[in-house]
Symmetry: C2
Subunit: 257 residues, 2 copies
């Protein structure tokens, strides 16, 4: 099974390395960013191209790991009807391929990827969806070789999953960013927050987040909250965010108690 990887960003890099390590034959990397394409192709010992017209047309599988906004453009520019086409986007329906292909699907690994940070792919949940039974079973066999956790979900569920991931990962990371900014301004080292960050994530592995909730907002402790708001006086957007989140946590606590 020969695979072409369309994309050379964070997800393309980690996914193609996992496939390579599972002994899949990756024959080409396509990316408009030459440096990314070259670097990834080097790691996988395969060819690369930055030109759509030069994409190999005889591969068995085409995996698209690109920005959502360019995915449909790439699909329009390619016409390799005999192959299996797979995208990896959380918020794009499987039907993006429907008008052109018969065999297509989605392979969505739920994780946050940065090129500079290695991940254990085996522990990453893989969500798959195929255009037909045969495709689903091919997707399942590919997913199983790279991960221990395979789930079949439809496009609508995957979109909700992606939305939940934005809150639990992307927005969470932004909370860390605000924390780092506050520490830097106070002349304190962000490092001292790291055990707290770890334990906060660790707690919800066994407790429901609703039960794990702590902090001044739980009882809307005005004494503390007002002190915190005063410290944020210079940054009105973060101050508003603090108050809004405190109100939401307080409402949630009342609702659940």
């Amino acid at each position: 099974m020969n695979i072409v990887i369309i994309g050379a960003g964070n997800l393309a890099t980690h996914l193609s390395k996992a496939l390579f390590e599972a002994n899949y034959s990756i024959v080409q990397i396509f990316s408009k960013t030459e440096e990314s394409a070259r670097m990834l192709a080097q790691k996988l010992n395969c060819n690369y191209t930055t030109n759509i017209a030069d994409i190999i047309t005889t591969a068995d599988v085409y995996i698209y790991a690109v920005k959502d906004s360019v995915l449909h453009l790439l699909i329009e520019d390619l016409a390799i009807t005999s192959a299996l086409h797979i995208h990896t986007a959380g918020s794009i329906s499987i039907n993006i391929f429907k008008h052109k292909y018969k065999n297509y699907g989605v392979l969505y690994p739920l994780q946050t990827f940065s090129k500079s940070k290695a991940v254990d792919f085996k522990s990453i949940p893989m969500f798959i969806e195929g255009s037909n039974e045969a495709v689903s079973s091919i997707l399942e066999s590919i997913a199983k070789k790279t991960s221990d956790k395979i789930y079949h979900i439809n496009s609508e569920q995957r979109m909700k999953l992606h939305l939940a991931a934005v809150f639990t990962c992307n927005f969470t990371n932004y909370m860390y960013t605000i924390g780092e900014d506050i520490m830097t301004e106070a002349g304190l080292d962000f490092d001292v927050l790291k055990p707290l960050i770890n334990e906060t994530a660790n707690k919800v592995q066994s407790l429901s987040p609703k039960k794990a909730q702590t902090g001044p907002a739980v009882r809307f402790d005005e004494n503390v909250i007002n002190k915190h708001l005063a410290m944020l006086e210079k940054n009105s957007k973060i101050k508003n965010l603090y108050l809004e989140l405190s109100n939401l946590i307080f409402e949630n606590t009342k609702k659940n108690s």
Copy 2:
């Protein structure tokens, strides 16, 4: 050194257990909530009282681990001038004791405590502040017996630290809560988000959160963001929060690139 613990909540429970395991002699637990007081006293094999007038007056150290809003009331009700008085609150100045006592201080463990979840106290950073050198060194010796990480910081820094902790812990946990709600509504299991939650926390142990930021907000991918906002149509507060956080992440990315 005989210690009285004022409070029997999450922090009082974990801190007094750590002190007990470090062979400190805890002679009494005070809490207005009889069940909490009795349960904690049982674990520590000591007396308890729910009556302020019955608090032992001959102990060497009084540790206050109570809600911020009642701390000053308790201090007013007690008058044990020879002892060392220690509070454990992030956002309360050491000076809350100043008008009554000579020897006082703060012992602030930076962690999120729930009674039902064990923690490794040794890895918790302890922030200490004493009213004089002698008190600081007593605090240091107490802190060192329970934790490997001791820091001397003043009340102003501790307040900033607490504010940073609210973002990185309390608000982060609320992001997990929203994630859980979205999953439940979609008929999906919150469990599948757990590896992502872990990796998000894990990433910032070695990468700056600014560098670790991923997701549709980084490039303000309107295609994805609009789909997500549409899914949140029924919940206007969470929808607004999504948009606000996406705007803040996008602004931050532009500022840092």
